[in-house]
Symmetry: C3
Subunit: 265 residues, 3 copies
């Protein structure tokens, strides 16, 4: 049985190790897999992007603990969400709606533990027990009340106007690659195979071809590909953020900047 | 069986992977868990804080390898320490006395291996064999001589003067939260439920309430809570070190700075 | 069965977790071990140094996935390399010749998967399946064609001139230790036990002794030892890169700088 951890806790403090110890203490034979602990603090958009591109790789019945912005408050309930035959445990801060492209198969509001109300470390003190309960084959209904909805948070979606798609950069990875919110599906629907130009705000360069692999252009050359999530990605082959060479730096592009695709009539 | 690793070796070099390979080579079925490899170099106080707040989460019989300041020298013996039904292996540089709140149940001075005296990488070349010996159920007395004492290193403890507790900041985590050396126990003993003010050196702010969860105050507000180690912690709700928002930066507070609590008569 | 991962992908994006999920999806009982994901981007010399000093610690039959500069192109085939009873999977960018000190026992050019040519993430989309095939006991010849050679890439080797060895710094670790390309073997062959002086370019200091352990000199003192790879290493005892104390900073030494050893006649 697999339990994954996603958090903004880093690895220099004791938090992540305490969570792992607590899991192994209950279930010595479970496998704990780190998704990432380097999520920028409280950044649920970044965390949702990482999870969205990861969870489908994992086997059925995998249990995902989400330790980002995990404090419960009046509007952020602690939830178990079931979708794609996997479980996700976290605070209802909007992240669930960002991870999934379809309505969850089940949502449970985790019951208050009346013995103690002092949970300053909910990922360890609450989510671990819930995850171990589920990993043992326990039902979510035993530890939560089924509810109907998760909090909805929408990211901008591309705008289509005749022969033009206006999207934006939603994520920049460690290589400085620009990952947009323009999917292969919308690109094909609007473009229907016509010639096109991709324009980057703040840059005079345009790109007129989609490649399959970075190495189809020479080192240092700009390239557009559909990345593994099937979203349009603008990159520099072997460019690297930080060394002055990544696409984000060369083009001066930040998260939320506009990417425009114009198809020829 | 679990073996944990705590070190200042980082993950960009080969050291940590060589240690893991060496363990799996001897014991393919053991589980190796990273506590942290991002301990600041040679910082046994940081390492002890991380271990102190972690080890009790782990199951009985867990074996902890401590690869921080691990070189043997004339005063730093290589030790096996047994406490709380777990084993700890490291150099006697003072760290053991910082991890535990009670005398160890057993201390063994690891025997010199007469075959080779060239151990420039003791965590791999010495501690791994010892850990595997223990993980197989071997007795510490087979590989070491029982001794009576560990080297003692004391951190400052809070000073109580009538209605005042003077403590200090002992650790600052990646969110910039200030973790003090003032325990809930001493707070309750001195305070007996009376009203109080917490003063931070170098800051004109005071805090007059202890909360249970960060989210009980609005974002950006200062808050005092007893953290998971039951030590008083001063934080900014959703403040983050590095973005100019963590408590350490907002209050200009560093490790070893004084925190004063004055209780009303 | 062990599968290790070495990459330059870092842990803040989804790449590494997607790889792990894909492996566990195929083989729930395999053990995935991170060698490092902090290899500098596309730096096959750094990656080869880390692997060279690690792989022999691992058990026989371990499978190593190398996700550094892993894109296939006209000259970089995707290979399975067998050596020392272990498998290595990666692109033939020269890294294999840097890892090994002997010719591989077998080399296979991984067959093109004709179903899809869109592999922008070969470490996950190609190497994982190959690794799982091998981990199940499958033969390399089933998924590749045996070939005779790997691409050769040579690093500078020390030059010996009478009583002098001229080597260079090949790697600087996180402590700032300078790891040279001068082996214990060549040192002993040329030196034959004679007195010597080690000179660092750009530094007026010399070192006249090889120690066994860092702690044989006082803190802050320079020291030469043969490190675990049996290569000459110049260090500052308890010096740390970044705090102004590591050997690289104190001596102003960078990768590729010359180290000279002069033996007395």
């Amino acid at each position: 049985m697999l339990i994954t951890l996603t958090s903004d806790m880093g690895l220099e403090d004791y938090y992540v190790a305490a969570i792992k110890g607590a899991i192994y203490n209950q279930l010595p034979n479970v496998k704990v897999v780190d998704i990432s602990h380097d999520i920028p603090p409280f950044d649920i958009v970044h965390a949702s992007f990482v999870l969205k591109n990861t969870f489908k790789e994992f086997p059925k019945n995998t249990i995902h603990i989400i330790g980002v912005d995990a404090e419960k408050n009046q509007t952020n309930k602690h939830l178990i969400v079931k979708n794609y035959d996997q479980y996700f445990i976290g605070a209802d801060n909007g992240i669930f709606s960002l991870i999934f492209d379809k309505k969850p198969d089940g949502i449970w509001n985790i019951n208050r533990n009346t013995e103690s109300e002092n949970y300053s470390f909910p990922t360890k003190d609450i989510f671990v027990s819930i995850a171990c309960h589920l990993a043992r084959g326990g039902l979510p209904a035993v530890v939560g009340n089924e509810i109907q909805d998760i909090k909805s948070k929408q990211l901008f979606r591309p705008i289509v106007d005749m022969n033009t798609i206006k999207g934006m950069v939603g994520y920049i990875d460690k290589y400085g690659n620009l990952i947009t919110n323009i999917s292969k599906k919308i690109f094909n629907e609007v473009g229907k195979g016509k010639a096109f130009k991709i324009f980057l705000t703040k840059s005079e360069y345009s790109i007129e071809k989609i490649h399959q692999n970075y190495n189809e252009v020479v080192e240092g050359e700009r390239i557009a590909i559909f990345g593994s999530g099937d979203f349009l990605e603008i990159a520099i082959n072997k460019g690297v953020k930080g060394s002055g060479g990544g696409a984000s730096q060369l083009f001066g592009i930040s998260i939320n900047d506009i990417i425009t695709i114009e198809f020829k009539d």
